[in-house]
């Protein structure tokens, strides 16, 4: 699925929630149920510092696409981390670099991506695009 299709799928999933509480319950579910990163990556090296909640992120190149794995110590943050992973993981570097993440806004979670919100998500997105750039450059040099 393309980034666009993945994003649309999430928008559709959220469309059924009538109020913020259902939406957050779903986010919390997603945060709780999905172990998204190996314990070995939960080290300072993979840590993205967000002051209030921590996010760990790893990235690997597999067959032309980047596989992201991530986790957070706060479950709501982790829920959103999962949305981002679903959309951006298994995509090609170029597509990741050109992606916009409007779907977060459309499902009503925009405030979590405010650059002044210290939950690590903004830095995580920056870091994901940085990985995409690095892998892209590597591919070009090698290829």
């Amino acid at each position: 699925m393309s980034i666009q299709e993945q994003a649309q799928k999430i928008i559709d999933e959220f469309a059924i929630f009538e109020d913020w509480m259902d939406k957050y319950n779903y986010l919390i579910e997603m945060g709780k149920s999905l172990p998204v990163i190996d314990e070995k990556y939960k080290t300072d090296q993979y840590l993205i510092s967000g002051c209030q909640s921590k996010v760990w992120l790893s990235a690997e190149m597999q067959d032309g696409v980047i596989v992201f794995k991530a986790d957070s110590d706060a479950v709501i943050t982790k829920g959103i981390v999962n949305l981002l992973i679903r959309v951006l993981s298994n995509q090609r570097p170029d597509d990741i670099l050109n992606s916009n993440l409007n779907f977060i806004d459309q499902v009503g979670l925009k405030e979590h991506l405010s650059p002044t919100r210290s939950n690590g998500l903004v830095s995580m997105i920056k870091q994901m695009k940085l990985y995409a750039l690095v892998f892209k450059t590597k591919m070009e040099v090698n290829g």
């Binding site: 913020w20 509480m21 957050y24 319950n25 919390i28 002051c51 209030q52 909640s53 921590k54 110590d73 706060a74 479950v75 709501i76 943050t77 210290s118 939950n119």
Partner: protein
């Protein structure tokens, strides 16, 4: 309920309290970060800018003289409120942080030498840690910390043995912003003065909840911010004893604080101007003056009595919540209740509580060493002012139940 104190009437004086957040009535419990402002303060700023707005101390013209008089009246008022001896012991800064930087720098330049020691406590806000760290690094002095025990109480016995002939100054908070713990500052000052050591009190939280009398405390410095004490942002107060203010060098330099300037040599002005440079924040000083008048019209003793009652009510109810840990709960506290819920990250809890219209703060509250002491990433902090109600404490209770339902 305290006599002469009707919280519902008082709430009418604060325009910002009457609004809805996500369709729910605002419950503002982030007072330790900044307080809301009574309308007399807001009105005074507008009026100033609509009438006598001018630069001060400089002009021979009418408006400038009016602005100068209003500015100096505000200084005198603060002097009286704190029971300082002279109005020139009142230095205007931009906030508590600015004031502590001033003292750490000027005092440090004059008195700190290699091998000397500075003592702070384990309950300090970063503002009363980092400036001392920096000047200690610069002067190769040592920063020593009065430890706290597991309940958040200062270990005074250790202070006794920490003070020695190399100790140059002790700087401690009056009330901890992260836990609400009240420090025994008068006792600390006495212990220090017995050994001839001056003491600075970071009163950013203390001034809000206690009637402060600097003569009675006998502190050498006391500082706080207007914005946490019902006044505008952008103004802070540093009280210092005349003798010590005269001894230490100026901090920032420029206009106002000088007597004569040539390219070869500059001589400095007398107190308080020696420590005040640049155009002062006249508007916000006049606003703060009005905040002090407002507080006095209610009576700090009434405020203290009501706040105690409200705090006890909220504390007693909160501790009944299963899985809650309240930090510092064995200590004498006021204003702040800092807690965590078992198995729930404070950031998650804060996110849900926010959606319920309650403004409270999560995180380390600029007191990371306190968090490290208790080995936690942060806390939820509900901080109360005298315009908060028991009803609002109940709303918080309900919200915590909701959080546990959703996240537990």
């Amino acid at each position: 309920m305290a006599v002469n104190f009707d919280v519902n009437n008082i709430r009418k004086d604060f325009p910002s309290l009457h609004q809805s957040i996500y369709g729910k009535p605002l419950v503002y419990l982030d007072n330790a970060a900044t307080s809301q402002k009574p309308k007399v303060v807001i009105g005074a700023i507008s009026e100033y800018y609509s009438t006598i707005n001018s630069n001060v101390h400089r002009g021979v013209h009418y408006l400038s003289q009016k602005a100068t008089d209003a500015f100096e009246d505000a200084r005198n008022h603060i002097c009286q409120y704190l029971n300082a001896r002279y109005s020139h012991e009142i230095i205007i800064t931009k906030g508590a942080t600015d004031a502590i930087n001033l003292v750490a720098n000027s005092f440090g330049k004059k008195f700190l030498k290699k091998g000397d020691e500075v003592i702070i406590s384990a309950l300090e806000h970063h503002a009363n840690i980092v400036p001392w760290q920096m000047i200690c690094i610069e002067k190769q002095a040592k920063l020593r910390i009065i430890p706290v025990n597991d309940s958040g109480e200062l270990r005074l016995a250790e202070l006794e043995s920490m003070m020695n002939e190399r100790t140059r100054i002790i700087s401690v908070t009056h009330i901890s912003n992260s836990l609400g713990v009240i420090l025994p500052v008068k006792e600390i000052i006495k212990m220090a003065h017995n050994k001839g050591i001056p003491v600075m009190i970071d009163g950013a939280q203390g001034i809000v909840h206690k009637k402060v009398d600097v003569k009675d405390l006998d502190c050498d410095f006391y500082c706080f911010s207007s914005h946490k004490f019902y006044g505008p942002m952008g103004v802070g107060i540093l009280y210092g004893k005349e003798e010590i203010l005269n001894e230490i060098p100026p901090y920032q330099t420029g206009g106002e604080m000088i007597k004569t300037v040539t390219f070869e040599k500059t001589t400095f002005n007398d107190l308080p101007f020696k420590f005040e440079t640049g155009t002062p924040n006249v508007a916000d000083m006049i606003g703060f003056d009005k905040a002090l008048h407002y507080i006095e019209s209610i009576g700090m003793e009434n405020i203290e009595a009501y706040e105690k009652e409200l705090f006890n009510y909220a504390s007693e109810r909160l501790v009944t919540i299963p899985g809650i840990t309240v930090y510092g709960d064995k200590c004498e506290r006021i204003g702040v209740i800092s807690f965590n819920l078992k198995g729930i990250h404070p950031y998650d809890a804060g996110t849900i509580i926010d959606k319920l219209g309650i403004a409270l703060r999560t995180g380390n509250h600029c007191a990371q060493p306190v968090m490290d002491r208790f080995n936690i990433p942060g806390t939820l902090r509900a901080s109360f002012a005298f315009y908060n109600t028991k009803g609002e404490a109940d709303v918080l209770m309900g919200a915590i139940h909701k959080v546990q339902e959703m996240l537990g």
